[in-house]
Symmetry: C2
Subunit: 226 residues, 2 copies
């Protein structure tokens, strides 16, 4: 997309991710257009893209809403991620070369440093974690898999809440990355797959532990609105 459409996409996306627009809220094309400073045409484009990223949903009559996630939905996504990223790790292990491995090592070193500083630099952690997983996906070199995963890993429910991870959990993350690196070094696809799958599943439980209180409130709130 070109300038206006991109701006609309970025603006709306950040409004959703930041929580400025709350889950379940209806999105009006004209209002968004005004806020983004563009016409409705690029806004409609942006909404299409956000829909395929599962950040917004449409009802049966084409009205658009900020995606609303139940805890079950989140569990669903993590399970699929565990499966697909596990597969990606397997492919990556089989196709790993020295240069890529070196980049992954550097990435995880930086990540560990971010985690070990006090206080831990969460934003940097997120950035490097993202890069680490992106590198693996690149080495896996399956464009279709990349497409499928892209829609799963860009979910705001996850990013918005990563700040609740405990220091311990952050350290464990980088340790799991180390184990992945070991599997990659041996080109052991099955090992890499197991580690990655576990890595994602642990992340899910960290999320669920931090949020089951919150989601209970959300559920009540949702009920009230209905």
């Amino acid at each position: 997309m070109s300038r206006a459409s991109d701006r609309a996409f970025d603006t709306i996306r950040s409004m959703i991710v930041s929580g400025e627009l709350s889950p379940g809220e209806q999105l009006i094309e004209e209002a968004l257009a005004e806020r983004c400073g563009v016409s409705r045409t690029p806004v409609r484009d942006a909404l299409r893209r956000l829909e395929s990223d599962m950040l917004v949903q449409r009802n049966d009559t084409q009205r658009t809403f900020v995606a609303d996630w139940s805890l079950d939905d989140v569990a669903d996504v993590f399970e699929l991620r565990a499966m697909l990223e596990g597969h990606a790790a397997k492919l990556a292990a089989e196709r790993m070369d020295d240069a890529a491995l070196e980049r992954l090592r550097k990435c995880n070193s930086a990540l560990r440093a971010a985690v070990k500083s006090s206080p831990p630099d969460i934003d940097l952690f997120l950035e490097l974690n993202r890069e680490f997983h992106a590198l693996i996906l690149k080495v896996a070199s399956s464009p279709r898999l990349a497409t499928l995963l892209a829609t799963l890993i860009e979910q705001p429910v996850i990013w918005r809440t990563a700040h609740h991870y405990s220091a311990d959990e952050l350290v464990r993350s980088s340790a799991e990355h180390d184990e992945l690196l070991a599997a990659f070094a041996r080109k052991d696809g099955a090992w890499a797959q197991s580690v990655m799958s576990g890595h994602i599943r642990r992340a899910y439980h960290a999320y669920a532990d931090a949020h089951h209180g919150l989601t209970a409130i959300d559920a009540a709130d949702r009920k009230r609105r209905a």
Copy 2:
């Protein structure tokens, strides 16, 4: 989408699936608009949807082309399908109820009849096969999984060529469905997953056997064009 956009989507889609538009061919919005009898606006909508279905691709400057699939791409898709449909089968087995099981049985009976008639009714087979898999996906009740799979199972490379299946392969398909039904009846998720995964992988090899000659020609043709 409403009428015009749907018509554009259906029209363009069928032109791609039927081969009227060949892989790699550029799609011009205005030309498509004229052919569909609508303006460019709904055509652009349709192209977005076709893009997310992976039926068309865009280059770096926003030009749109009919998706072009190498044999590796096809292998890639089948592998992902095997994984995701296997997972769907596992979930479905765990959540299966008598009513759904009965519908699946009826569906496969009809499918078997279509296969056993002479000559086998391939179109009916495809229709019922689709329905069978859709029912399983429905019982699995994971909307996210359904979304991901939707983009994989609607691929024209597969449908356009299903007519090359041998009678023997068609019969084997319905036999594998029977085995799935057995796994469902016992609510054995792991069994269902294995059978489904194998089912898809066998389909891939049937495809590859029928097409490795053809794809060699395709490759030469593609080279000539380049």
